[in-house]
Amino acid sequence: MTGWLGPEEWQAVALSLKVAFWAVLVSLPLAVLVATALARWRFRGRGALNVLVHLPLVLPPVVTGYILLLSFGTQGTIGQFFKKFGIVLAFHWTGAVLAAAIMAFPLMVRAVRLSIEAVDPKLEEAATTLGAHPMRSFFTVTLPLIVPGILAGSVLAFAKAMGEFGATITFVSNIPGQTRTLPSAVYAFLQVPGGEASAMRLVIISVVIACGALIMSELLARRVAQRVGGS
């Protein structure tokens, strides 16, 4: 494979995997929290939160990237706040993680939310009567039961993160080895006459990775479903 791909392309693949991995990992807890809130809690602003979560799905990615740049850039208020803690996002691979995470977030939240809605709240009640604090009952009962949903959501998010381009390049630009992800490389190839072949090679790689992830998630979900059994 390394022979077929140039070192630069290889670098892009590795970077994309890293970015997608971290994007999923970082957004997972928040996605579970938000999904729980949307599925279980009744609070003011629930509708607004729902809309907010879906925005990246709806907005042109470039716009999302631009908004990220305004808020998380070195000049942005959030960016400056983060900087105090030594966290740099702009033009850094961590920024690519943020962009990918935000773009994939709605997919993840939807998947997790649906699986939470499928868990009978009466089980949590039962845990509570057994002395479990609601937090504990969430972590020991609900969470294990929504693993299939979390898996499905994560894989979908992973695949989406692998393919994210517009927001990423707008927010963190395209620095080889730092923020040049697979889709950025694909885009670059498509910009030069005759670059289609190279572009397609990279596309195939990302499709293979994404398909692998999708198939794996179906298998995992089935296995978990079996373990948990009929009920």
């Binding site: 039962a126 009567t129 002395g131 479990a132 504990r136 009962v141 039961l145 948990v228 009920s231």
Partner: protein, 361 residues
Amino acid sequence: MTLSVQVSHKFDGFELDVSFEAPEGLTVLFGASGSGKTTVVNAVAGLGTPDQARISVNGRLLVETQRGINLPAYKREIGYVFQEARLFPHLNVRKNLLYGRRMARNRSDKISFDRVVGMLGLDRLLTRHPAHLSGGEKQRVAIGRALLSRPKMILADEPLAALDERRKAEIIPYFELLRDEFSLPILYVSHSIAEVARLATTVVALERGAVSRVGAAAEVLGDPAFTPAGVRAVGAILDARVTRHHDDGLTELDAGGAALFLPRIPKTEGSDVRVRVAAHDVILSRDAPKGLSALNILRGTIVAVRAGEGPGAIVSLDTQAGRVLARVTRRSVQAMELTEGQVIHAVVKSVAVAPEDVGAR
């Protein structure tokens, strides 16, 4: 009083205002569907917040809304057995059983894992998942799970309703054990007379959100006026002691000096039992009957004859064994000229007493 409950709550279209006290033992909440039983039990468990409540168990205050006291459910140290078992599907039986254990580490341990597993016959099931258990097995695990969280009280909301007769018969004895061996206060919802008769120390009858009757089980069920589940539910509860198991499969009981013969009862000689004798299984005879296949004949004095709306009448008589009820036709009342004070014989077939009508006292 062990259990003191006062709850009021308004749903749209339904108003609950319940208040009762119950002594040690098993208290049955009895009433038609929609009378508010679950709402009361949930208030005790701390699931859902009633508009107004004051509940204490063995002197421990669980909630007093007026003083702003409201222990959250997970601090109430209560074991709740739900109608649908509600086992955790991702955990095997062992882990389900131990779920409440960790949270109760600091509490005293007279309830050991092995004892509970042994008592409920769960040994062979420990590694199974709930999806592979039958309804009765599930319910047994649910009881064990509640018990192993070392509760100060057990709640059970129609724990047998989803089971067929055979499974019901399988589970009931475990509640007797909870009541007798673990001496746990139990609040038990049911609308089966058989369960009430067998298990209840105290009966709290609910009707449309209010308490219609509270009292000792024998007293409430033995009252011909109390027929919430239809006339076929009327019956007397006799206290007796197992005196001997005979070789021909009969068990002899001593009920206040009178001998009763019943199909074999799985209790050791000397143990106390309660026997429910349904009123419709009792035949009355003016003369001491002879040449009858029925073995149990109790002589007694009629204390009341109460004609119902239908063709039947309930005759209460005091016997050596206690108060016995007989349901006879009005026609027989006339033919036999039954009146108060009359001496009469009550005939009870041994085999007419169903196995589920005999329980531990």
